[in-house]
Structures are given as structure tokens and as C-alpha cells.
């Protein structure tokens, strides 16, 4: 092939990326984002502890953060067991949501009649409050763990489904034309064009679903209210409230929130790693 010199104006007009200085892997603005909320958090906790002590509020009304932390340590045996169960349900529900949501969205976009006939029911499932159908599911499904899983899945799967459908349909029309031009099969168009184009949308749905599957798991546990073998964090919260063990209730609450935050951070990290080379959302603006 003939070669054209790569000198010339446009070959040199490549965008320049300027590296910012980093400390421990974070830039100055990155540290700001970590330190500022941390400071606020410490301030609020300090104020809380101070008010509880100063006003002499009893622990069964409002325990201070130090007591909650101590309860977290002393009750770790019971609480960690429950945490594992809640996380199990959450994780499995998310997994089911990803597989079902992903597969259904591919099927829906490949076979339009399937989407037309089934999507309304997916919406019905989504808009019906889970608390309202959870008792039914718990009655119908004998296995407690499975019924909890189903409830959490119902809550979690819709964002993945609707986002991925949107993503699969949002491939650049000219790229679709290009694929048609080269006689690409339906499978090739899906594999090389629609799926990569849908990835950012799917990941957006995944982040929402991660939080929702935890919420679904907790809500379902509340409705089930079951003790015995499968007792998750929600059951511990209920139990503690009956027994007026308010510090333990708070400790369980802290664990639920922390789990939610960690799930969100992990999913955000996955999303960032998958998109950082090409997608606008993961790329820093150069100005």
C-alpha cells in the first residue's frame, strides 16, 4: 500500500492529556472529595455523642455513636451471621436480576413481538409495591430464603431491563447502516455493535439495582418476619425493637447502610474500569 506521511496539521492536532499531580493515587480535588464529607461526618457524630451525654438521653431512646460502635463489637457474633444472610439474598437477587434483566432485554430487542407482549407485565411488576405482594409470595413459596430472594429480585431487575433495552436500541444509526452494508448477521450486529453500545446503560442500571436488591432483601425480611435459621439483618432490627435493645438496632442499621454504600462503590468501580477508556461519563473533561 502507498503510504502518506503522518506529518501534517491534523495528525498533530491530537488532544493533549495533562497529568495532574497525585498523592497516594488521588489528585488534590480527589482528596477534597474524600476529606470534606469525612470531616462533616465526624463533626455530626461528635455533636450527637455530646448531645446524648449532655442531655442524659437514655440508650433505649437514642444511643450515642460510641455505644453503637461498642454494641457492634459485642454483638458481632449474632449480627455478622445475619449480615451474611442478608448479603447472600442481596447478591443472589442481583445476580438473578443481571441474568434475567440482561437476557430478557436482548430477547426483547431481537424479537419485537416479545417486547410488545411482555414489557407491560414487567412494568406492572415494577409499579406494584413489593410490600403488597411479598406476603403472597411468602405464602406461595415454601422456602423462606427463596421467597425472600424472589421479592428482592422483583425489586431489582426492572432498572437493568429497561436500561439495557434503551442501550441496545441506542446504537448509532450510521453504524447500523455500516453493519448492513457489510452484510452483518443479526448476531454480529448484536455482538459487535448493540451489546457494546448498551454497556454504559446496563452499568447505570446495575448501580441502581445493586441498592434496590439490598432494599428488596430487607423489605422482604420485614414482611416475612421469620426467625429460625434464616434471620437476616432486618429480622435483627425487628427483634431488637421488640426487646427494646435500641443500640443493637442501630448497630444493625449501620451494617445495612454500610453494605449499601459498599455495594454502590464496588459497582461504581466496576463501571469505571469498564468505561474509562472510551465513555464520556468515565472520562475527565480536559479544561
Amino acid at each position: 500500500m502507498t503510504t502518506i506521511s503522518d506529518s501534517g496539521t491534523d495528525a498533530e492536532a491530537r488532544p493533549v492529556f495533562i497529568e495532574e499531580r497525585r498523592w497516594l493515587g488521588l489528585t488534590a480535588s480527589g482528596w477534597q472529595k474524600v476529606v470534606a464529607p469525612l470531616l462533616i461526618g465526624l463533626l455530626v457524630l461528635g455533636l450527637w455523642e455530646f448531645i446524648v451525654r449532655w442531655a442524659g438521653i437514655p440508650a433505649y431512646i437514642l444511643p450515642g455513636p460510641l455505644l453503637i460502635a461498642r454494641t457492634l463489637v459485642t454483638d458481632w457474633g449474632t449480627l455478622s451471621g445475619s449480615l451474611v444472610i442478608t448479603l447472600q439474598i442481596t447478591g443472589l437477587a442481583l445476580l438473578a436480576a443481571v441474568t434475567m434483566g440482561g437476557l430478557l432485554s436482548i430477547l426483547f430487542t431481537q424479537f419485537k413481538w416479545l417486547e410488545l407482549s411482555l414489557f407491560p407485565y414487567a412494568i406492572i411488576l415494577q409499579v406494584t409495591p413489593i410490600v403488597a405482594i411479598a406476603p403472597l409470595i411468602i405464602i406461595w413459596v415454601n422456602n423462606t430464603l427463596l421467597s425472600l430472594l424472589i421479592c428482592a429480585w422483583i425489586v431489582a431487575f426492572f432498572p437493568i431491563l429497561s436500561n439495557t433495552i434503551l442501550g441496545l436500541n441506542s446504537a448509532d444509526h450510521n453504524l447500523i447502516n455500516l453493519f448492513q452494508l457489510y452484510g452483518a448477521s443479526r448476531w454480529q450486529t448484536l455482538r459487535y455493535l448493540r451489546l457494546p453500545a448498551a454497556l454504559p446503560y446496563f452499568l447505570g442500571g446495575l448501580r441502581i439495582s445493586g441498592g434496590l436488591s439490598l432494599i428488596g432483601a430487607v423489605v422482604a425480611e420485614f414482611v416475612a418476619g421469620s426467625g429460625g435459621t434464616a434471620s437476616g439483618l432486618a429480622f435483627r432490627i425487628l427483634e431488637a425493637s421488640y426487646q427494646l435493645k435500641i443500640p443493637r438496632m442501630f448497630a444493625a442499621l449501620v451494617m445495612v447502610s454500610a453494605s449499601g454504600i459498599i455495594i454502590f462503590l464496588v459497582l461504581s468501580l466496576i463501571s469505571h474500569l469498564l468505561l474509562r477508556r472510551w465513555h464520556e461519563s468515565a472520562v475527565r473533561r480536559e479544561n
Binding site: T3, R14, D172, N174, F179, Y182, W278
Partner: protein
């Protein structure tokens, strides 16, 4: 300026002896909403020639290109590929590359992966395909950028990747739909020259859609002038000017004369 061939549908004359690759006869395109994009277009693209389709916006230049490419059916008339093979359904195997107005690259793929795409879709063996794609990238001067993602490239470089992708299958015809319209003038001139160099070396057929008289005269052997409402061909002008073309050509009297003739035709098209 050689004899310019006037409109006269069906009686096009080309100074080239190349065999006809694509023949459009009485092609009309009506969209579902009733708009007539083009009507009664007769056009022959011959092997190895550089043809520009020139006209105001809305004259159906792009539509003509898309129908040559087989993107969308014609409403009346025919698009024939007399010298091409036909598949089992009797449809011509269109051996072509297409360059869109925008670079239309896959943002999640590197320059090399983008150029590889047409070969992948044709199930070429990966090693051979990679080598071919690397050669194509090198031919547009981007060998060093094969691992860059589109967002890391400038507008001109993205267009180069797009051209490399269109040429990687070594097609007989390259269809270009206002490829350089969005670029600045300096970059556009550079890409014009590079495109001519590639064409000169390979002698594929180029159908180049543009709304710039200067660009069409600088690049092509033949200029098909189109008018709007309804979209139709009103003149087919052989510029008859010589190659190679460079900055000297831009200031030559023959260039100026060709521009004047084509401009006059375009005025008719608008008027």
C-alpha cells in the same frame, strides 16, 4: 476545459474508457411521508473514475449515494451492477466502502479495531485481517495511532480512520458522503490531497458528495450537478483537467475556469 456534457438523461458521456460499475436508470426515491427525494436520476459510475455529486442541500445527493450502497430500496427505476457477481437471491454483491459525514467510529474500539470491523464481519482469518487493517491504517498515516481510542483523536484523524476502514476491504468503489464538510480548511485540503494520492495509487472508483464547487473541481474528473425540489441531475461535466493536483493547481487558470463553469451550473440548479 474539455467539452462539457449537458444533462440529457441517459446520454452521459465519459472521457474514460472504464467499464461501467454501477448504472442508475430513472431512479426515483419517494419516502413514506410522500417526499420525493430524487426523481429520474441516470448516472453511470465507471471503473477507476473520480466523480463528484455536487448540489445544494436537499437535492438528494446523499440519497443517490445510499441507493448505490443498497441502503434503502428505490421507488422506481433501477440500480444495476453490470460487472459484479450476484448472490443466490440475484442481488449484486456490492464491492464498496462507505465514508459517512461523521467519522462514525465505534467509541469503545481502538483505531485498529475499528478498521478491522469490515474484515471481522466477513469472517476473515484474524491474523491476516489484522495485518491488512494495520496496512490500511498506515496508508492514511495513522500507523502510530492504532491503539488510540476515537476520543483521543482529532476530527481529521477520526476521518482518516473512517477512510482506512472503508478501504480495508480493497473495494472497487468508495462512496463518500460530504466526508470533510465538518473539518477546518487546512485539514480538509490535506485530506483532499491524501485522498487523491490513495486514489492515484489504487484507482478505485470514487463517488464523492460535496456542496463545495472548489472541492469538487479540485478532486474530480467528472462533476454531476444536482438540483433540488425535486432532486434531479441537471448537468454532467467532465472537467478534463490534469492530475496530479496540488497547491499549484489551486491557483491555475484551468482550475479557475472549471470552477467558473461548474459554479454557473450550480447557480442554475439553485435558481
Amino acid at each position: 476545459m474539455q467539452a462539457a456534457v449537458e444533462t440529457a438523461a441517459g446520454k452521459l458521456w465519459s472521457p474514460l474508457a472504464g467499464r461501467p460499475l454501477v448504472q442508475l436508470q430513472g431512479v426515483t426515491k419517494r419516502y413514506a411521508n410522500g417526499t420525493i427525494a430524487v426523481t429520474g436520476v441516470d448516472l453511470t459510475l465507471r471503473d477507476g473514475e473520480f466523480v463528484s455529486l455536487l448540489g445544494p442541500s436537499g437535492c438528494g445527493k446523499t440519497t443517490v449515494l445510499r441507493m448505490i450502497a443498497g441502503l434503502g430500496e428505490v421507488s422506481a427505476g433501477s440500480v444495476e451492477w453490470p460487472t459484479s457477481k450476484h448472490d443466490w437471491r440475484g442481488r449484486p454483491v456490492r464491492d464498496l466502502g462507505f465514508v459517512f459525514q461523521e467519522a462514525t467510529l465505534m467509541p469503545w474500539a481502538t483505531a485498529l479495531q475499528n478498521v478491522l470491523l469490515p474484515l471481522k464481519l466477513k469472517y476473515r482469518p484474524p491474523r491476516e485481517a489484522t495485518q491488512q487493517a494495520e496496512e490500511a491504517l498506515a496508508s492514511v498515516g495513522l500507523a502510530a495511532f492504532k491503539n488510540a481510542y476515537p476520543r483521543e483523536l482529532s476530527g481529521g484523524m477520526k476521518m482518516r480512520v473512517s477512510i482506512a476502514r472503508a478501504l480495508v476491504t480493497e473495494p472497487r468503489i468508495l462512496l463518500m458522503d460530504e466526508p470533510f464538510a465538518a473539518l477546518d480548511e487546512i485539514t480538509r485540503h490535506k485530506l483532499n490531497d491524501d485522498l487523491l494520492a490513495l486514489w492515484n495509487a489504487k484507482r478505485f472508483t470514487v463517488a464523492f458528495v460535496t456542496h463545495s464547487v472548489f472541492e469538487s473541481v479540485y478532486l474530480s474528473q467528472r462533476i454531476v450537478v444536482m438540483a433540488a425540489r425535486p432532486g434531479r441531475v441537471i448537468a454532467d461535466i467532465a472537467t478534463g483537467t490534469s492530475y496530479p493536483r496540488d497547491e499549484g493547481f489551486r491557483t491555475s487558470p484551468e482550475y479557475a475556469e472549471a470552477c467558473r463553469v461548474v459554479s454557473a451550473k450550480l447557480q442554475e440548479a439553485i435558481g
